[in-house]
Amino acid sequence: MKMMIGIVIAMSLLMSSSVYALKAGVPLEFKDEEQEELYNDMLHELRCTVCQNQSIAGSNASLADDLRGNLYKMVKDGADEGEIKKFMVDRYGDFVLYRPNFNPSTYLLWIGPFLLLLLGVVVLRLNVRSRNKINNSSDLTTEESELLAKCLDSKKEKK
């Protein structure tokens, strides 16, 4: 139980650390918890376009700082998730979202893995089917089976 509480405290510390990211040491103020949650969620949803593989939550780049400031202002002004995402995508493109919108340029990105899975299943089935065919096609010609029977008979007689 103690460990659980420890984990919860550590987690909440980690989560809340991003709130202090705008200006070191100065906690951000929000109207309600909902706004704070939205701000924190969006920090991790938005990619820092300079550093590319970091969200704007974790980046020290000055652009990330500006974007955090922008995001904070939008959240304070009551923008919802869709409006914030649209603002960012309109300026930086789909790339700014870690989970980009579903549109023609991202079809392959979203559907690709499922297509590959489907391809895998098809290849597997074809493989299994052809293997079954080999196993079942061990029928001998009449000559061969007569020969086999003869061999087996002669073995029995010897016993």
Binding site: T49, V50, Q52, S62, L63, D66, L67, N70, V89, D90, R91, Y92, G93, D94, F95
Partner: protein
Amino acid sequence: MNRHMIPLIVFAALLLLFWVGLGLNPKIIPSPLIGKEAPKFELPELHDPQKIVNNEMLKGQVTLFNVFASWCVSCRAEHHHLLKLQRQGFHLVGLNYKDEKQDALMYLRQLGGDPYAMIAFDYKGNVGIEWGVYGTPETFVLDKKGIVRYKHTGPLYREVIENELIPLIRELEQES
């Protein structure tokens, strides 16, 4: 078709995919602004804060909109190209991005002059965000109606200028 050919074909396809995929520069993010009107903005002019520069001033002629800063090292590398473009008669407008005024003026003096017809002074970087600036220098080409037609991220170099920029500007100048 021989079934032993299949792995070979798959291998060739993968090779092609990697060849193309790894050849792309992941730093180049396609701009969503292309085909759209230039973002609205209004900023003081760098040399004379009494004057303003806004998006309306980008209309009427084909414009090269160049984002630069004195702290940006690769901006220095393209500066002489900008001076040359100005000498050739092209219309350049600068966006001085997140810079100190004195640093920017010093930068222009040190590098042989000011190639811009006017420079918008974006001290806070808010206009940069409107333009989706993420890696200075960035150069946009706008047509006569003020619509963004092209973007180059990173320093301009001769091949880009001669093969892409100038032909595009010539083409856009023909449009009414």
